[in-house]
């Protein structure tokens, strides 16, 4: 057994890497479907109630959410940089960039909380507002994904600090990257559908 463990430490078995990546894609496929239901409830409402949504748009403003979108995009970029560093055998770089990813994710969630507070002060709550329930359900579900992603990023950082990962052994970072990019792409879709059009 100890021999096998040693081998895995230097280079992962390609079988294992392929398994994990494929499983992640399958998981994302099922997650897409859950999001699509939440988004569909919003879209159907949007089509039938154009004025209500316009009013909300005017009331809320775009500055905060645009900033947030920018931060999330930046975090995806930090994620890519982190993967690049570990491929170059620079573990410190990996820790720094993935740490930045986590920080940007935390700021995103915090700003979303600020936005929720502003909206509910204007009377748009999850209960008692036809727009509210369809707005909070998908965005909060996305926010939960970001929180899980932040925890995962911190896990990656922790593992790297203990000496994990290497230029031939970075599939853990890669799979986290798949998830994080997915969360990012979903946000772009939500941003476009809910705030822009």
């Amino acid at each position: 057994m100890s021999d096998i463990a040693k081998v895995q430490h230097t280079a992962e078995s390609p079988q294992r890497v392929e398994n994990v990546k494929f499983a992640m894609w399958l998981y994302l496929a099922s997650d897409v479907i859950i999001f699509s239901i939440l988004i569909a409830t919003f879209v159907l409402f949007r089509v039938n109630n154009e004025e209500v949504v316009k009013e909300v748009h005017e009331a809320s403003g775009l500055f905060l959410v645009s900033l947030n979108t920018f931060l999330l995009l930046a975090s995806s970029w930090a994620m890519v940089m982190g993967l690049r560093e570990i491929k170059r055998d620079n573990r410190k770089g990996l820790i720094r960039w993935i740490g930045l990813t986590a920080v940007l994710g935390i700021v995103f969630v915090a700003l979303q909380g600020v936005e929720y507070t502003i909206l509910s002060n204007e009377g748009i709550t999850i209960y008692g507002s036809e727009f509210g329930m369809r707005f909070y359900a998908p965005t909060a579900f996305h926010g939960a994904h970001v929180i899980i992603g932040v925890l995962w990023a911190l896990g990656v950082v922790w593992h790297a600090m203990k000496g994990g990962y290497g230029p031939k052994n970075y599939s853990g970072v890669e799979v986290f990257g798949l998830y994080w990019h997915f969360v990012d792409v979903v946000w772009i879709l939500l941003f476009t559908l809910i705030y822009l059009i």
Partner: protein, 569 residues
């Protein structure tokens, strides 16, 4: 078809199998075999629970008035939990159990692709089951297993919230299990086994898992909205506050119709194995059976609104009627292939085989009543009557559960190393078959006569029929205990099975019973055609296998014709 055998590694000698131990089953384990048995035992427990609820339903329906239950509400709770438990905690986990136990063995693998994830997926089930049943203490769910709003949002008790959380957990468990199966099948087949050399059970699990991964999230999305409606005060399903009741029906059936195939496809897979082995004939139409599973998985996504003929806009009825008729075609392909497999075969009426044949006959009846329900004029007449109840039970009991029973008799020797008692198996079959038929066939009649389902009080003229149905259902219920008794005594006193009592060619029989910790000693070599029965190459393969793994019971008497073999070997 040309059959090729590769030489087996020689000189490995008889392999001592692991003993079947009960206390291992109560602990966390990442061994797919133990997880498989854990799934099966948990599921069987809930089968008994769901069965007890069914018996109470039938006891209540002995008379036209409410007498056993306090009121209609408690009757509603009975059938709601009966349906939910039987579907989500019995059939689905039982099939997952068979898949877990058999799939890596059939693929010659040491374990599933993700052993830890596998164990995690299993351990979500017991808490989910407890959550579901604890609803009885806080006002159990009473909106039926379909839980249509507004019944499930504005009327049902707090148990409905627990119900939704429980199903959420079970759905997560299914998705994780399904991902594991797909990855295992894609990446862990042995050298020399392409997709079209896989056993048909593996094909069935593949098709099932694709449905699980792509359909279960619809239920998860719907349940999330349902929970928000109940807990957070939203009104997604409440038209009075801007919601839409049809949203739930669409989302629910978009999951639950494919879920019907989640429950039946693995049974199809088991049937393909059992019919071929016990009639000593190659399966007829291997590719047709394999690909029709995928076709069912695909078309299954296009038929959901036939559950909503009476709530949908009339223009949408015809397209869904057409897709519903189309899905009968791949199912028909399977049934005819199985009949052609039996034709001219050397049929051995073992307990596994009689249940498989029982499946064939009863499932065909369920399929025909399904086509009747798929045609709009009939559906509008009989919807929400016992005709629907009858159809559902013919495909899920006469289909899935008979398939599970057949699978238990077929694979019990592999799992435990001992044969089940055949005589008790036959009695189990006779009572189950007769009880089943007289429980559910008369329901067609009372359904057409107009007796509504889900109601505790009924018109007095139906009482004769209902007494017959109830008595038959008690017979069927008691018959299950014959199986339990058989399992218990066979575990102690059953005949030692040996590696391959059915002389089957698939890889799970290419190791001792029960298999050792990593399934195989050395890499197993698959026989090119897993169904190449009756050929000389197959006989030689099996003979070499016996030399390697030691003598096993010859339950089907297949060694006899080859009299050139010295006696006693």
């Amino acid at each position: 078809m040309a059959t090729v055998t590769a030489p087996l590694p020689v000189g490995v000698g008889h392999v001592e199998g692991k003993k079947f131990k009960l206390n291992e089953l109560l602990r966390w384990s990442v061994d797919h075999k133990i997880i498989g048995i854990q799934y099966m035992m948990t599921a069987f427990f809930f089968f008994i629970v769901g069965g007890a609820l069914a018996m109470m339903i039938r006891w209540e329906l002995l008379t036209p008035a409410i007498d056993l239950m306090a009121d209609g509400t408690s009757y509603n709770q009975l059938f709601s939990i009966h349906g939910t438990v039987m579907i989500f905690l019995w059939i689905v986990p039982m099939m997952a159990g068979f898949g877990n136990y058999l799939l890596p063995l059939m693929l010659g693998a040491k374990d599933m692709a993700f052993p830890w994830l596998n164990a995690f997926a299993f351990w979500l089930i017991p808490p989910a089951g407890i959550l579901m049943l604890s609803g009885f203490f806080v006002g159990q769910a009473e909106a039926g297993w379909t839980s249509y709003p507004p019944l499930s949002t504005l009327f049902s008790g707090d148990g409905q919230t627990l119900w939704a959380m429980s199903i959420h957990l079970l759905g997560l468990s299914s998705i994780l299990g399904g991902i594991n199966f797909i990855v295992t099948i894609k990446n862990m087949r042995p050298q020399g086994m392409g997709y079209f050399q896989m056993p048909l059970f593996a094909w069935a699990i593949l098709a099932t898992s694709i449905i699980v991964v792509l359909a279960t999230p619809f239920l998860a999305g719907g349940l999330t909205l349902l929970l928000l409606d109940r807990v957070a005060g939203t009104a997604f399903f409440n038209p009075a506050e801007g919601g839409d009741v049809l949203l739930w029906q669409n989302v629910f059936w978009f999951y639950s119709h494919p879920a019907v195939y989640i429950m039946i496809l693995p049974a199809f897979g088991m049937l393909s194995e059992i019919l071929s082995v016990h009639s000593r004939k190659p399966i007829f139409g291997y590719r047709a059976i394999a690909l029709s599973s995928l076709a069912i998985a695909l078309v299954g996504f296009t038929v959901w609104a036939h559950h909503m003929f009476t709530s949908l806009t009339p223009e949408l009825r015809i397209p869904f009627m057409i897709t519903s008729m189309i899905i009968a075609v791949p199912t028909g392909i399977k049934v005819f292939s199985w009949l052609a497999t039996l034709f001219g075969g050397k049929i051995h009426l073992t307990s596994a085989m009689v249940f498989a044949l029982g499946f064939l006959s009863m499932f065909v009846i369920g399929g025909i009543s399904g086509v009747m329900l798929g045609s709009i004029p009939v559906d509008i007449h009989v919807h929400d009557t016992y005709f629907v109840v009858s159809h559902l039970h013919f495909v899920l009991y006469g289909g899935s559960v008979f398939g599970i029973f057949a699978g238990i008799y077929h694979w019990f020797p592999k799992i435990t190393g001992r044969m089940l008692n055949e005589r008790l198996g036959k009695w189990h079959f006779i009572f189950t078959y007769i009880g089943f038929f007289f429980t559910f066939f008369p329901q067609h009649v009372v359904g057409i006569l107009g007796m509504p389902r889900r109601v505790a009080e009924y018109a007095p003229e139906f009482q004769g029929w209902n007494v017959l149905i109830s008595v038959a259902s008690f017979v069927m219920g008691m018959a299950t205990f014959i199986l339990l008794y058989n399992i218990v005594i066979s575990l102690r006193n059953g005949k030692e099975a040996g590696a391959n009592p059915w002389r089957a060619l698939t890889l799970e029989w290419q190791t001792s019973s029960p298999p050792p910790a990593h399934n195989f000693i050395g890499d197993p070599v698959p026989f090119k055609n897993p169904y190449g029965y009756g050929t000389k190459a197959a006989w030689e393969y099996l003979h070499k296998q016996e030399e390697k793994l030691g003598e096993s019971v010859d339950a089907l008497n297949v060694d006899k014709p080859a009299s050139s073999v010295p006696a006693g070997d």
